[in-house]
Symmetry: C2
Subunit: 109 residues, 2 copies
Amino acid sequence: MNWDLIRWDRDGLVATVVQDSQTLQVLTVAYMTRTSLERSLEIGETVFWSRSRQELWHKGETSGNTQRIREIRVDCDGDALLILVEPRGPACHTGAVTCFYRTLEETHE
Amino acid sequence: MNWDLIRWDRDGLVATVVQDSQTLQVLTVAYMTRTSLERSLEIGETVFWSRSRQELWHKGETSGNTQRIREIRVDCDGDALLILVEPRGPACHTGAVTCFYRTLEETHE
């Protein structure tokens, strides 16, 4: 594990894209801190930093829709992660498979 | 186009994931301002906001590796975009197809 590849931002965060390892669908964009990444590696599931609640957020802890980590990639300048996962259920709190269920052109949800 | 779906951050940015519409490979994560999104829609190609240079950045303007926009999606809470593109060449300035060419475990580039 080469932690030096990661360039945390001024809030100690790194933008993280979560992609389904099978369907390759982009499921969500969330943020990780060093602690949340460490915890993710420990349990093999995604643990993010909730910017709104300002706390660690183990994805699926209450819903059961956890995301098993298959691979973690880092981009060329180290300020974004790409995590390939095997999701146990919908990624979105709305129940949608992906958080990106709307096109920008849609005016109705 | 429903601009109200987008929640710009304190710097007026929205995190943007670029995905190849054919291979579904995640190519890059970049940031857009309202102006860069407007310009992207005008020309049908990705135009980002360069946080390091603090200027509009038409992807591929110098390299020729532009990204033709096929679809723009927005996530459930409006703070991330997913743009499906048809790339005219490698997404990464290193020449790699994707900026995510490294796994976090790799210690050598």
